[in-house]
């Protein structure tokens, strides 16, 4: 790292040059210390590449840990709430992990790369917690964030693009599966995972081959509308898919200061990830107690009337004829593909039963003047966007 880079205090991913070559806006932000693009030319057009062709997103800054050793499985099985013994080599698990109070530290994906060899991928850094979880276990932890370059290749034509690139076995790869392929003499790991709720893949390789891979990928995708995208476009897609962002839709338990600001998996709609059949996992006792006593909060997906995005809105429920403040919106967007005004929010129990109607207070500004509408919002329990092509195996070539 040069002195100039240190003075900027912002790292560059191995794909940075290619991003900069395509960039027209010069809008960047820091993502876990890396330079990341808000958008490259127009976030809505970038968004449409996710839904209509192929979008490429640089996810190298995602925190990655390699977990190996005889106790790797036992370690992970106690770490996360779901049953890791069911995740065979070549499979990927979406998982959440909790502290002893059953509060979510983070969610992420665990890749069973080979027998007994795992990669944990998450938004936040967790080395201190993972090391504590490794006390008394024969397990090796290594942070490999900078050692692995990663790209998300997402959208209806993503299979066609990668197939054109010539990746063996891709057609048979099911959602949450992974395979190892060869690229230019180096190992390429391809997983059928993503943060868009659409057909898509994530590709992982050594940083030295990153630019060569990018060039080959974009050559293969020339006729399939391949487009690099920034974080804003991805954020719209993930809200449509109903995916949570740590630090936005919940505060990681290790970062909360005030009591009651962290959330349990039940309170984040992740109860399906909690497997009480396991005799022990972090947070089990607290979560069992919460299941008996009931949760304080509920995560809701809202279909809101009108077209004004409900950013940062309060959520109200009608209680005995009066509007009562019961929560707030954490993520909101106009969904171009669904033609719906959608949001993710948090409400106090027992409000927010799926199918019930809540109200959101939307403030909007027109020529300096603020206006307010109270818009009805229906609580839905399915993702707003969940096309069949996401799961089809083999995927369509489109």
């Amino acid at each position: 790292m040069s002195i100039a880079e240190v003075s900027l205090a912002r790292l560059k991913t191995p794909f940075h040059e290619r991003y900069r070559a395509r960039d027209r806006l010069n809008e960047w932000h820091s993502w876990k210390g890396y330079t990341a693009a808000d958008a490259l030319f127009d976030h809505e057009l970038e968004y449409f590449s996710i839904r209509n062709s192929t979008a490429v997103f640089d996810l190298t800054p995602m925190t990655k840990y390699r977990i190996t050793g005889p106790d790797a499985l036992a370690f992970l099985d106690r770490l996360v709430t779901r049953d890791m013994t069911k995740i065979r080599p070549g499979r990927v698990a979406y998982a959440a992990w909790c502290d002893d109070r059953g509060q979510v530290i983070d969610d992420g994906t665990i890749f069973h790369l080979r027998e007994g060899e795992y990669r944990l991928c998450s938004q936040e850094r967790h080395l201190a917690w993972l090391r504590a979880a490794a006390i008394g276990m024969d397990v090796t932890l290594r942070e490999e964030t900078a050692e692995i370059a990663a790209l998300a290749v997402q959208g209806p034509t993503s299979f066609a693009v990668l197939d054109t690139l010539g990746i063996d076995g891709l057609a048979e790869l099911k959602p949450f599966g992974l395979l190892h392929a060869d690229f230019d003499g180096t190992e390429l790991m391809v997983s059928r995972t993503g943060f868009t709720g659409d057909l898509g893949y994530e590709v992982w390789l050594e940083p030295g081959k990153a630019l060569a891979f990018w060039d080959a990928l974009f050559e293969a995708g020339k006729l399939y509308g391949i487009t690099p995208i920034g974080t804003e476009a991805l954020d719209m897609a993930r809200i449509e898919a109903g995916f949570l962002t740590a630090g936005v839709d919940f505060v990681p338990a290790m970062q909360t200061v005030r009591s009651g600001r962290s959330r349990s998996p039940f309170e984040l709609g992740l109860g399906w990830l909690v497997d009480f059949k396991k005799p022990n996992f972090n947070g089990r006792r607290a979560l069992a107690a919460e299941q008996r006593a009931g949760s304080d909060w509920r995560l809701v997906k809202l279909d809101i009337e009108g077209n004004k995005p409900a950013h940062h809105s309060y959520i109200y429920a009608k209680v005995r004829g009066k509007m009562k403040n019961v929560g707030f919106v954490t993520s909101a967007t106009w969904s171009p593909v669904c033609k719906q005004n959608i949001a993710i929010g948090t409400v106090r129990m027992p409000h927010g039963e799926p199918g019930s109607t809540l109200h959101v207070e939307i403030y909007y500004q027109r020529e300096m003047h603020w206006s307010r509408v109270m818009a009805a919002a229906e609580v839905v329990d399915k993702p707003f966007w969940d096309p069949a092509r996401r799961r089809a195996t083999p995927p369509g070539r489109y």
Binding site: D71, A74, F75, R78, L79, D99, D100, R101, W129, A132, A133, I135, G136, M137, P279, N280, F281, N282, G283, R284, R285
Partner: protein
């Protein structure tokens, strides 16, 4: 082969035996498994040279709680009682202490000692009340916890306004400053400071040393005694009581692991592979050994394991045993003075300076000593006309930065003998045999992690509700069916029996199979 018991106690240390006896007296079918061939744990007597025996670890009895003795109907047979303390001076101007009375100090200091002792006595009694009941859980809204918390508050308030303020002011404080405020005599201050730091990794200027002093004086006002036959006799008496109440004690049966099935403790397995089943497993081992080695961290949650992992329990007290062919003639000491406790702690700065190197993993170049000649009142311990010296020596860190090799051991022992020679001239010529037990030896022999005699530093952050750690204060560990009953649990170490008694009360309160 498997056997089922209502409760299995791991370790026949004094707390384990107290707990086993009380459980057995309540009608439980109890099995005690002891790794060593002798009972009593650190309350034991062993021969270290031909014909010479000594209490190997604890060598004075002062902490045994009256509540424990009452519950058990035990009255230890004492060889010596109400021992005085002689703070040795190189020039022979020794200071003598017994209870509230000091000799060899100014009238002002003698009066100050009476005031100091009566003031501290009230606080020690307050502490003793808390020590003889399970502490409340913080953040709990259960009636029992709230009531216990209210009792604690009430006990403190009942001291009266001024005493309460004084107590709250000094309880977390260091003893050095308090002694400086109260006394003039360096010898007196040194002896009082020593009592606050024996068995700890603390110096007189460390915070919490008023608490450790009070803790030491919480039973019987800190009155010192030695049992006939050494501390091992007490261990055997306790074992007899346990057997008498119907408990089975198996020695030479080291527990290899606690069997965990489906998230609860269901038994133990000994080194020879025998499995004993029980839904109540009570560990007299220290919390680290229990959680890390006997059960395994994977059966607990990460935050809890991290707290246990971080318990401070690095021992710093070594034991030195000398076989003597006679007693030395020391200026200012009469023959009968060898029945008392002698201390080498000429002033509180000396004690603090002895502690300084320990902070950096080195042993004291000028250690402090607590010395007794148990054979003086108990001829069973040495051949006729000969004597044994038993000394607690500080500070000898469990982990020496340079490593405890044979050279370091020999150097430390030499240094101990040289220091002793300055205060007890002529002692060296009398030594016919010696034994030095470093904290690591104590760890290995008695299975105490870090060789720490309290099974964990006795400081406010590891006391009451948070002893051994938050989430396990009431003897039950966060694994169903598993309990602690040793010094690592509230209220801590010394041969006190309170932890064993409290644990038994808690287990009985929860009913069978809980």
């Amino acid at each position: 082969m498997t056997d089922y018991y209502d409760a299995i106690v791991i370790g026949a240390g004094h707390n384990g035996l107290v707990c086993a006896t009380l459980l057995a007296q309540a009608g439980r079918d109890v099995l005690v498994l002891e790794a060593r061939d002798a009972v009593g744990g650190a309350a034991c007597t062993a021969e270290f040279a031909d014909g010479y025996s000594v209490s190997s670890v604890a060598h004075l009895l002062y902490g045994l709680q009256p509540e424990v003795l009452n519950d058990l109907g035990l009255k230890p047979e004492l060889a010596a009682d109400n021992l005085g303390t002689i703070a040795l001076a190189e020039d022979g101007a020794h200071v003598r202490l017994r209870g509230d009375v000091a000799q060899g100090v100014s009238d002002a200091d003698a009066a100050a000692l009476r005031t100091f002792r009566s003031r501290m006595r009230r606080y020690a009694k307050l502490l003793a009340r808390q020590m003889n009941r399970p502490p409340p859980r913080l953040g709990s809204s259960a009636r029992g916890d709230l009531l216990a918390l209210a009792k604690l508050g009430f006990d403190i308030r009942r001291l009266g306004r001024d005493a309460m303020r004084d107590f709250l002011r000094i309880v977390g404080m260091n003893i050095y400053d308090e002694l400086e405020e109260c006394f003039e005599s360096p010898r007196l201050k040194g002896a009082l400071a020593l009592d606050a730091v024996l068995g700890t990794h603390l110096g007189p200027r460390s915070p919490n040393t008023i608490l450790t002093w009070l803790h030491r004086h919480s039973a019987n006002d800190g009155r010192l005694a030695t049992p006939v036959g050494g501390m091992g006799n007490l261990g055997e008496r306790l074992a007899d009581l346990a057997r008498g109440a119907g408990a089975t004690i198996l020695t030479g049966s080291p527990v290899q692991r606690v069997v965990v099935e489906n998230g609860r403790a269901t038994g133990v397995e000994t080194a020879d592979g025998t499995v004993y089943e029980s839904l109540t497993i009570v560990s007299n081992a220290d919390p680290k050994r229990t959680v890390m080695d006997l059960v395994g961290t994977r059966h607990f949650e990460t935050g809890f394991v991290r707290r246990v992992h971080n318990i401070r329990m690095q021992g710093n007290a070594a034991k030195l045993h000398l076989a003597l062919d006679g007693l030395p003639a020391v200026t200012g000491l009469e023959k009968r003075d060898f029945a008392e406790r002698l201390v080498v702690a000429p002033d509180s700065d000396y004690v603090e300076r002895a502690f300084n190197p320990a902070k950096y993993g080195e042993y004291s170049p000028e250690p402090v000593f607590e010395i007794v000649f148990p054979s003086f009142r108990d001829p069973t311990l040495a051949p006729a006309g000969k004597h044994v010296l038993s000394a607690i020596v500080q500070y000898a860190p469990h982990t020496l930065r340079a490593g405890w090799d044979d050279g370091a051991r020999a150097a430390f022992e030499r240094l101990c003998l040289d220091t002793l020679e300055r205060y007890l001239p002529g002692l060296g010529k009398r030594v016919t045999s010696s034994e030095l037990l470093l904290p690591a030896d104590i760890e290995e022999r008695y299975g105490m992690s870090g060789g720490h005699w309290h099974h964990g530093e006795l400081t406010l952050d590891q006391f009451l509700f948070v002893r051994p750690v938050g989430g396990a204060a009431q003897y039950a560990l966060p694994l169903d069916g598993l309990y602690l009953c040793g010094a690592g649990a509230h209220p801590g170490g010394d041969v006190a029996g309170a932890a064993g008694r409290n644990a038994a009360l808690e287990i009985l309160k929860r009913g069978k199979g809980a």
